[in-house]
């Protein structure tokens, strides 16, 4: 059944030139990508153009695509960059020099092949991505553990603290617990993170949140 065909199998078929597989991938992802882009542009035609560029960008990057990555997450990251390019082009980011930061955070696999080989930035980027990947695996396990144990209050606190960067006071108010309880969760999690980060072979001094913790 088409709906249970895995993304990886689809990609294999697309690489082998199977147009039907490409159509299936578009059917699977176009709706969510369009919703992502349109929520920002409020212009249906422009949003469809950005989504089209996203799919073309994906095909261009396909030879470099790391098959271990989640396809949906990868497509959204390309869409985000195409959207940023569009916003720059139409003057929504006047504080940025044109083209000054086109490569910011762009998936390495989406960069043209010769640029990857020529760029030492890309090489250090690959090392950085490898370390990020190891940290992500460790964090994913920790978050899954919280969810499995039903520790959703802790998960909510950590998400607001790390993902949104909110101060303890606002996190406490939003989650409906005391600031002290938030501080306790934070302290315990930072301790766990330090261990996980060392186990992942990454220097904890290079992790922004941990370095900030030492300064504060």
């Amino acid at each position: 059944m088409a709906s249970v065909t895995s993304d990886h199998l689809l990609i294999e078929r697309i690489c082998a030139g199977d147009a039907a597989a490409w159509e299936q991938l578009i059917d699977r992802y176009e709706g969510r990508l369009l919703a992502f882009v349109a929520s920002r542009l409020q212009d249906r035609a422009a949003s469809e153009d950005v989504v089209q560029e996203t799919f073309v960008g994906f095909l261009t990057s396909l030879p470099h695509f790391d098959r271990s990555r989640d396809l949906g997450t990868y497509l959204f990251s390309i869409a985000a960059h195409k959207l940023t390019d569009h916003l720059r082009k139409y003057g929504r980011r006047p504080w940025e020099a044109a083209g000054a930061s086109d490569g910011d955070g762009r998936p390495l696999d989406e960069l043209p092949g010769h640029a990857r080989a020529a760029s030492s930035i890309a090489l250090s980027g690959e090392r950085h991505a490898s370390e990020d990947g190891r940290l992500a695996d460790a964090l994913r396990a920790l978050i899954a553990q919280w969810a499995e144990r039903g520790q959703f209050e802790r998960l909510k606190c950590m998400e607001l603290l790390f993902v949104r960067g909110w101060p303890n006071k606002e996190v406490a108010a939003r989650v409906g617990i005391t600031e002290q309880a938030v501080a306790n969760y934070k302290h315990q999690t930072i301790t766990q993170l330090r261990r996980l980060i060392r186990d992942a072979g990454v220097a904890d001094a290079t992790v922004v949140e941990l370095a900030e913790g030492e300064r504060s």
């Binding site: 992502f36 997450t73 985000a80 940023t84 992500a136 994913r140 959703f152 949104r164 922004v208």
Partner: protein, 139 residues
């Protein structure tokens, strides 16, 4: 209103905040040189190879519910704790990708409802003649 955090500035660069928050920060950046300087500092930290728990969490979507679970969320079919968490993740954290998935799923459910309605209508039209007539009704 909570001041814009560095994590939110990074999220802004990643296009990962809710659209209303993206617009709020975009407007603030137009007006505030200090905020633009902070945005540059966040960008430079990333370019220098620093890691960020928040950035990794967002990029790898570490707490995003699977799409099937988002579908169940729309049907209010999750355990109460999980239902509450998915609501928090989408409404409070404002995960833009999950919001896009929810909108897509809602659209697909509506399309499916329309397909179902048409199929049942066809079934009704093709079978209604076989419904027994009330006694005394004219043929």
């Amino acid at each position: 209103m909570i001041p814009v955090s560095d994590a939110e500035l990074a999220s802004f660069m990643e296009e990962s905040l809710r659209p209303d928050e993206m617009a709020r920060i975009e407007a603030a950046l137009r007006e505030s040189a200090p905020l633009r300087a902070r945005l540059d500092a966040v960008r430079q930290a990333r370019n220098r190879g620093w890691h960020s728990v928040g950035a990794i969490w967002r990029a790898h979507r570490l707490s995003c519910p699977p799409r099937a679970e988002l579908g169940s969320f729309l049907l209010d079919a999750l355990d109460p704790d999980r239902q509450d968490y998915v609501r928090f993740h989408t409404e409070v954290v404002g995960c833009r990708i999950c919001l896009a998935n929810l909108e897509d799923l809602r659209g697909r459910q509506a399309e499916q409802a329309e397909v179902t309605r048409k199929r049942r209508s066809r079934l009704f039209q093709s079978s209604v003649a076989h419904v027994p007539r009330p006694r005394g009704a004219r043929p």
